[in-house]
């Protein structure tokens, strides 16, 4: 199906914001295009204006600061993000999530933030970014706002981003001392297709006890979802295999999966518990510096 649209490739953010304002709900932003073009062909979106943002200078910045943490620009490619030395060193779980996204070619085209803005419940980069306290910086002609990624997703394909708005960056705090994170996912064809189920977790240890735990599950609900009951089981306890198994079971009970082409609901429920359990083990090992 051919959908006709006008194409713009502005070189400045001001021009992007002006076009977004002018076209309102009829505009779509194009970063990597790997999701957008499929949606356009399927008739799921019918923009009259496609605004490409890769020509905007500086929007692809990835940087790390020991006080401000990680900055991910809107057009930072998944492959550049996964290969960035600071990401590898300080945020290995975010690297793993980026590498779990689609295939080599798509990671060379697609962006971390595009993966979030597409708002699929199976977005590989969402769970760990939420668990680590990431925030989206949103701009429009009328000003800006910051949205914690935990509040970003509203439903399948739906986020809080409205007409006229663009996510210009995502920031992630510096991982506190004694903390670790992990992202694990499963898909039908191992590493190349969309994840059927995923789990991103973050834990912080204090005096060998779990002082903070965040568990976010992907593809088991309409949005990436917190497993708060599983988190409560961990609070204040000493990390152990048995504890993580209990947390995994609780997370599986909290999940609300559906059956679709990628997996059945019962498989997803069972698998997400196992992934949460294993991810907790990996995050705790990283927290201990193992």
């Amino acid at each position: 199906m051919i959908v006709r649209f006008e194409y713009f490739a502005p070189k400045s953010l001001d021009e992007v914001l002006r076009l977004l304002d002018e076209y309102g709900p009829d505009a779509c932003l194009l970063a990597g295009g790997t999701d957008l073009l499929l949606k356009i062909r399927a008739g799921a979106v019918t923009p009259t204006a496609v605004i490409a943002i890769k020509a905007v200078k500086g929007l692809d910045l990835i940087s790390f600061d020991t006080t401000k943490g990680l900055f991910i620009g809107a057009t930072a490619l998944l492959s550049d993000f996964a290969g960035h030395p600071a990401v590898t060193k300080h945020y290995p779980a975010l690297r793993d999530a980026a590498l779990a996204t689609a295939n080599v070619q798509v990671r060379n085209m697609g962006t971390v933030i595009g993966n979030l803005c597409n708002a699929s419940p199976c977005a590989d980069n969402a769970p760990t970014l939420i668990a680590m306290g990431g925030t989206a910086v949103v701009e429009s002609r009328n000003g800006g706002r910051c949205v914690p990624l935990e509040d970003f997703f509203k439903g399948p394909g739906q986020s809080v981003i409205g007409p006229g708005e663009i996510v210009t960056s995502v920031t992630v705090p510096v991982p506190p001392k004694g903390s670790g994170a992990s992202y694990l996912s499963l898909s039908q064809r191992s590493r190349v297709d969309m994840s059927a189920v995923g789990a991103g977790v973050f834990v912080r240890l204090e005096s060998s006890r779990i002082a903070q735990a965040s568990i976010v599950m992907g593809s088991v609900g309409p949005v990436p979802m917190r497993a708060s009951k599983a988190e409560a089981i961990l609070a204040g306890k000493r990390p152990s295999a048995a504890l993580f198994a209990r947390a995994g079971e609780a997370a599986a009970k909290e999940s609300k999966p559906i059956s679709d082409v990628r997996a059945s609901a019962s498989y997803r429920r069972q698998a997400v518990g196992v992934l949460v359990e294993r991810a907790l083990g990996e995050a705790a090992a990283r927290a201990k510096g193992d």
Binding site: V3, Y7, G33, L37, A102, Q105, M109
Partner: protein
């Protein structure tokens, strides 16, 4: 409205007028008659349409032609150094029997080039990971992995 753009393909410059919704794959194949680049799934899963854009592998089926304007595009037609000789990757694919129906080959070879440009001596595991965005329904992959390994040794 059509956009008049310059596409730099395999070192040659082409000026084309394209509708903004047309993909790089369509323009390469239909306007420039460079049909070595295939169209498989059309959804970025199979890798048959892989080309190099500024040195990186991308799916040409998901790349708008207007987005490739002014960039360095390399297709399988530009892999061999001349009309007389083949690229070592192409030689290795033939010698190792890594081609059966041939539909995936152009994409496979460009993914191999992308890998070997960055990592001249990859392990088998690295080859398999790097080639995982290219699907083949004939060979069972072993011969393709062997061909990439052989190409790496030829290119030393």
């Amino acid at each position: 409205m059509k956009h008049v753009i310059e596409l730099k393909v395999n070192g040659d410059s082409y000026q084309v007028a394209v509708d903004p919704w047309r993909t790089l794959n369509e323009v390469l194949r239909e306007d420039l008659n460079l049909t070595g680049t295939k169209l498989g799934c059309g959804t970025g899963d199979c890798g048959a349409c892989t080309v190099l854009l500024d040195g990186r592998t991308v799916s040409s089926c998901l790349t708008l032609a207007v987005e490739a304007a002014g960039k360095d595009i390399r297709t399988v037609e530009g892999l061999a150094p001349s009309g007389e000789e083949l690229h070592p990757i192409q030689e290795a694919f033939i010698e190792e029997g890594a081609i059966q129906c041939g539909f995936c080959t152009a994409g496979m070879e460009l993914s191999a080039k992308y890998l070997l440009d960055r990592n001249p001596a990859p392990t088998e595991r690295e080859i398999r990971a790097s080639m995982s965005g290219n699907l083949c329904r004939c060979t069972g992959y072993d011969k393709i992995v062997a061909a990439v390994d052989a190409a790496a040794r030829k290119m030393k």
